[in-house]
């Protein structure tokens, strides 16, 4: 069971990298993988009704993708003692790592780009794993931009960034009903400065658990 989970986890990671290593213009092609995953999800749901599986197990994916790279050893994603989510004193809900630390929920982007950085894949997959284990948990995916360029274009760009993260989480098993992508354009900076450092911080997607 653990081995199967790990293999599946890795497989999703591979799928995620495959999808987001490519450019935005190849969405149509990637759509085919999302469709494939959705089909697999349905099969899994049928299987779980017979009592022989959980939503985390999607053996059909393995069958469909024989060319997946050999699984690397990864940490066991399920640790009983640590909760997946925790409410902080200020009321915000955060995702918790197996060592009890808060999992990063801010992901940055290049100027006028919406491609997720490869360094963010693993962190996003940690969020996906927790959302998959907690189907009642929903998340707002907020896209933001730096102040450069026009406000209305940035509103659209922020949405594109949020959609990129939503698509990634979807491809990693999170249900559409758990997610809502929003854009605030350049209207909600975290740093009001006008330099490269401030702009880099402001170009971001934030996951906000509700």
């Amino acid at each position: 069971m653990v081995a199967l989970l790990a293999a599946n986890y890795n497989l999703r990671r591979a799928l995620g990298e495959l999808k987001y290593g490519e450019t935005y213009m190849s969405h149509l092609k990637n759509g085919a993988w999302i469709a494939l995953l959705l089909v697999c999800g349905l099969l899994t749901a049928c299987a779980s009704q017979t009592g022989c599986g959980t939503p985390e197990e999607e053996p059909m994916v393995v069958d469909e993708r024989p060319a997946v790279p050999e699984p690397e050893p990864v940490p066991e994603p399920v640790v009983e003692e640590v909760p997946d989510f925790m409410e902080l004193p200020d009321g915000t809900v955060v995702a918790i790592d197996s060592d009890g630390s808060v999992i990063r929920s801010v992901f940055n982007f290049e100027f006028d780009e919406s491609e997720i950085g490869s360094g963010d894949f693993r962190v996003l997959q940690q969020h996906a794993a927790r959302l998959n284990r907690n189907r009642d948990q929903s998340v707002a995916i907020d896209g933001h931009c730096d102040e450069r360029g026009t406000r209305e274009y940035n509103l659209a760009l922020g949405e594109r960034r949020a959609m990129a993260v939503q698509d990634f989480l979807l491809a990693n098993g999170v249900r559409p009903s758990q997610m809502s992508a929003r854009s605030f354009g350049e209207e909600r900076p975290v740093d009001t400065g006008s330099d490269e450092a401030a702009w880099a911080k402001n170009r971001r997607v934030e996951l906000k658990y509700e």
Partner: protein, 433 residues
């Protein structure tokens, strides 16, 4: 809903004077004119300083200092041409302000061409004694028209958003309307969520805007006469960038409800929505040309944001800008043959001007680093945009000829998203004599 609606739009008294105006750059090639201090009769108010300031801001004229005037006539008959020729003044404006038998404030004025030794216009503007500022702007409009043949736009107003305490817990966004020069600022809507994209209807009676009060963007329309507002579009995804058609029957807007941002129109009377563009790129920032046949908009369908035109009947799209990696947020000039837009150059984001036919190269009108949201006065002589100066969002007025720039600095917070009104119904009356 943290929201307060203030429908006191027809007030004549000011709520606040948050702006300071200063000349940013002046050029000696401007035509020198003399606005002689008007003769002020009993119970009347001096309007000359406002007329002076209006004509300066046009970027066409340089009013000379009162102290240099050799005589102070108040009628054309009293004008000694020699006194003005030695000062190399092209035009002299003389006049008086009085309260007439009906209790109206009257400005009587004459515009004189010194070189031709001819009176170009003798006229009166009448208005409420409580509202000398509106009277002054109307006088400026007529003086400007006498000297240039172009109607003045000094009686127009500007909608914009004031953002206070950004990133703080008490962050506040206020949709404002003020005179074009920043005076008589009046709050229309206050929210703790962002407000964007104010857009005037062609008759000046309605304002569309985007607010985030519902948690994400939605388009609202407010009737400025009644203060009543309604939601125009609140679909899943983005609802943004409203633009009234010239006849007021339709509003162009951006929705991403069908997957990604595209241009749509909505018929105001029926709420029937029509999709205008259908492209997986970002399509946004639509604006109508003056006959309502085309929408000019921003799209990154070519790999970077550029400006395109789509015919609203044929839906045929053509690209208008090719120079540079970022051209966005077009606004069509009142001549319907040019447009202004945001252009990124090596030194930053500037406002640029070019013709719709694509014949001439773009001309850069602004010189800061983060210039955006250009909006043009209805006479096409001046335009306003927002920029950042000393970490603060400010508005700047620049003549489209590019020679004079004024900055309007708010002391309260960031001022963004200016939208210059069309010509508005006036409370003052003009009588040519």
């Amino acid at each position: 809903m943290n929201r307060l609606l203030i429908a006191a739009l027809l007030i004549t008294a000011s709520i606040a004077y948050p702006f300071e105006i200063r000349i940013d750059r002046g050029v000696d090639t401007l035509a020198p004119i003399a606005i002689v201090p008007f003769r002020i009769y009993e119970n009347a108010v001096d309007i000359t300083p406002i007329v002076n300031s209006d004509l300066s801001s046009s970027g066409q004229f340089r009013p000379i200092d009162d102290a240099n005037m050799l005589s102070l006539p108040s009628t054309a008959n009293e004008v000694v041409y020699h006194d003005w020729r030695v000062l190399r003044v092209d035009y002299v404006v003389v006049g008086s302000v009085f309260v007439d038998g009906l209790g109206l404030l009257v400005a009587e004025f004459e515009v004189i061409d010194v070189n031709q030794e001819r009176v170009l216009r003798t006229a009166q503007v009448k208005g409420n004694v409580e509202d000398p500022r509106s009277l002054a702007h109307h006088v400026s409009d007529e003086v400007f028209r006498a000297m240039t043949g172009i109607p003045g736009a000094f009686s127009t107003r500007v909608a914009y958003v004031l953002v206070e305490n950004r990133t703080q817990v008490d962050e506040r966004h206020t949709l404002m309307i003020a005179d074009f020069d920043g005076e008589r600022e009046t709050p229309i809507l206050i929210s703790d969520q962002p407000i964007l994209s104010p857009a005037w209807s062609a008759d000046g009676k309605q304002l569309a805007y985007v607010s985030f009060e519902a948690g994400s963007s939605a388009i609202h329309i407010i009737n400025l006469e009644t203060g009543q507002s309604r939601v125009l579009a609140n679909f899943e995804g983005i609802n943004s960038a409203p633009a009234f058609s010239p006849d007021g029957a339709h509003i162009a807007m951006v929705l991403s409800r069908d997957g990604n941002p595209d241009i749509y129109t909505i018929e105001v009377a029926s709420n029937v929505i029509r999709r205008i563009t259908n492209h997986r790129a970002i399509d946004t920032e639509p604006v109508w040309d003056l006959n309502g046949a085309n929408l000019i908009f921003t799209s990154d369908r070519g790999g970077s944001p550029q400006i395109y035109r789509v015919n609203v009947d044929s839906l045929q799209v053509s690209r208008l800008t090719f120079d540079g990696s970022y051209n966005a947020r077009p606004r069509v000039m009142p001549d319907n043959t040019h447009f202004i837009f945001v252009h990124r150059s090596g030194s930053g984001f500037h406002i640029a001007w070019r013709d719709l036919a694509g014949n001439r190269a773009a001309r850069i009108l602004s010189s800061n680093v983060l210039d955006e949201s250009p909006s043009v006065a209805p006479n096409g002589v001046m335009m306003m945009y927002s920029t950042k100066s000393n970490r603060r969002g400010i508005l700047s007025i620049v003549s489209v000829s590019g020679e004079v720039e004024y900055k309007l600095t708010s002391t309260a917070g960031d001022v963004i998203e200016p939208a210059w009104s069309p010509y508005l119904p006036l409370t003052t009356t003009f009588v040519e004599r």
